[in-house]
Symmetry: C2
Subunit: 387 residues, 2 copies
């Protein structure tokens, strides 16, 4: 084992104790009680008190005007992109450095991802590099941003708040305005993360949240779409419930809709998890502070901190190896996992994944560099704390 | 109120007592216990003991070689159609008389539904009329069935087991063979329904089940795909889990996959529901017998019985008004619902719904006639029985 691997394991061990998953859910509140309530009510499916309550509480917590609860974050992105007008033959700006769902949701609309680069500090879509790329490859024609090379409309951008660290939304919104792009935020990882007090997922047209089992709170499987426009939210909710026109018994559908509604059983779990969210955020920030101290003197690696002026939820604690140490990444991962500290690299760049290999892309130098140097370490709420 | 409405309400009242929902879930077994187990294990999401067990028990119950648990029946149909090779620009034979999910799943593949007619007795896809239609409008070219009018390949057919009554699969399989069509069964409504001992959903390439809250058993939201080929099942499971190539930490995806895996929380509910299934089938058959006696002498309407040689699960009890009484349907529905007996007509024909109005279609005389005469009446397990 190399000395940098040894130092990293020592620092993780100091904080996390003896072995830990990457990110495990924590159920210490009303989870069983609320789920039992849902079962006792027999309303476990697409209608029920918990799903309505979950949507209202999500809106209140994030400051969005409305939230639409769906089966998962991928479904949230899909419907958000449709609401943004993304259609067959369009292109959508997506960072290459993100989970594959971001690009897949674009594909479900019949559109193609157009990969853009990250900024080096926190891995989010880089506004400067995106602006320079769009200036180089696009024209504005009839109020639409057109890719000169492919002739296709670039309809939207999807900033991702990677590992819970807010992307530079103020600058990205200016790029979006200048190039006539709709903005759908992929806030799957960033529930509880704010920029200057504004919650992630509420700057653009819509924001997608995820409550998969590995997220800061979970509904088993689940997601939500945040909107600042209640009419858009109502239309999105309609699309997620097979686009059925309300009627006591008749079946009429006015669009090709989806079966994307979050079941009430899952929302019941989510209501209890939301009650615990503030304390989990406190705990995850405290974990970051302990990791910061443990890694302060570890040479060769830095711990990602929250961006200036932002509050991260610290979903996943993130180590970035110094440049020149790329070749050690896999050895460090093997050593960490062998020691019981479940750790992983960042996703393989989407621009390199077979299903999206033919998609247009900007220069991706920063994303390539980060992708070879990032290691996520155990990050669960309450890790190493006394229960 | 017309006299036929009065007679129908009297007969329903005799069986169901004072007011009843159309179909409500029943949780009298291990539902809370298993769901609490899943929460206590913290495995509530896409991996867990219950989802594996649920798949195995579904396969054992249906006689399929493998079952793949997914978020809902729509997702099951979507992936089953992809596994059947349905691609952009194809057509797929779908009965006009079915829930809109059957046609939407075809649209998600970029294909178009091609609507076919029903047989008058039980509302399933009519093999004779389908054969005559295909003979009229298609050619076999290079081993593919080509619609002469549109020039598109008709790739597959989706028989639906309407209200749990098995469609005529033996004859439909011969049509499929003669016209080179893959067969995906929409068995969303027919868990527990068999044809000569063979479970619905296991005759063709794949079968889609639903466990929505209104189905014979529920997982909150959920579905499954039945396969007789374990390799196909493994590939389908791969597609439902983002097509991620197995690796302890690396993220590689070899196709545009989906986030369609049933969460373990929902599967826990499903495991308990499966334990209760045989008794619910017994109860629903007994309900049918009581309705049969109550409606034996009611003029103007007949109760749909199971097809010869088949065992129906009697998911929804179905009244068919005599021809000539079509105009009374809405009045009867209003009277039944006003009396507290939640009742509904069959779905509006998909060929008439705006999103599918431009799709090719056969003559749909039988479907049109049935669509104006069907009324589903309260059908829950244990309805009118002492608990």
């Amino acid at each position: 084992m190399t000395s940098v691997a040894q130092r990293i394991i020592a620092a993780v061990s100091e904080v996390a104790g003896g072995g830990a998953p990457l990110h495990a859910p924590v159920f210490r509140g009303n989870e069983q009680a609320y789920v039992d309530d849902a079962i006792a009510s027999t309303f476990v499916s697409s209608v029920g008190a918990h799903v309505t309550r979950f949507e209202q509480e999500l809106a209140a917590f994030t400051g969005a005007k409305a939230a639409v609860a769906v089966v998962n974050g991928t479904a949230a992105l899909h419907v958000a992109l449709l609401m943004a007008g993304v259609r067959r033959g369009d292109e959508v700006i997506v960072p290459a450095l993100t989970f594959i769902a971001t690009a897949n949701a674009v594909s479900y609309c019949g559109a193609s991802p157009h990969f853009a680069d990250s900024e080096p500090g926190h891995g989010g879509l880089c506004p400067q590099r995106l602006r320079a790329h769009l200036e180089e490859i696009s024209d504005i024609r009839d109020g639409l941003c057109v890719n000169r090379e492919t002739g296709r409309v670039i309809r939207a951008m999807v900033p991702v708040h990677v590992f819970g660290h807010p992307a530079r939304m103020d600058e990205l919104m200016r790029v979006a305005e200048d190039f006539h792009l709709a903005v759908v935020e992929d806030a799957a990882e960033s529930l509880g993360s704010r920029m200057g007090g504004r919650h992630t997922g509420t700057s653009g047209l819509a924001g997608a949240l995820s409550f998969n089992g590995n997220k800061i709170i979970t509904t088993g499987g689940g997601g939500a779409i945040l909107f600042n426009d209640v009419q858009l939210a109502a239309r999105a909710r309609h699309l997620t419930t097979t686009a059925k026109v309300p009627h006591p018994w008749e079946y009429r559908h006015d669009a090709i809709g989806f079966n994307y509604r979050m079941p009430n059983l899952n929302a019941a779990l989510g209501c209890a998890q939301l009650e615990a969210l503030e304390d989990m955020l406190r705990s995850k920030r405290a974990l970051h502070e302990r990791y910061s101290r443990a890694f302060a003197d570890v040479e060769g690696v830095s711990l990602m901190d929250e961006p200036d002026g932002c509050e991260s939820n610290f979903w996943l604690q993130t180590l970035v190896l110094d440049e020149g140490l790329e070749d050690q990444r896999d050895g460090i991962l093997e050593a960490l996992n062998a020691a019981g500290f479940m750790s992983r690299p960042v996703w393989g760049l989407l621009s390199e994944q077979p299903p999206h290999a033919g998609a247009p892309r900007a220069d991706l130098d920063v994303a390539h560099s980060l992708a070879r140097r990032i290691i996520n370490i155990p990050s669960s709420a309450y890790l190493g704390e006394d229960a």
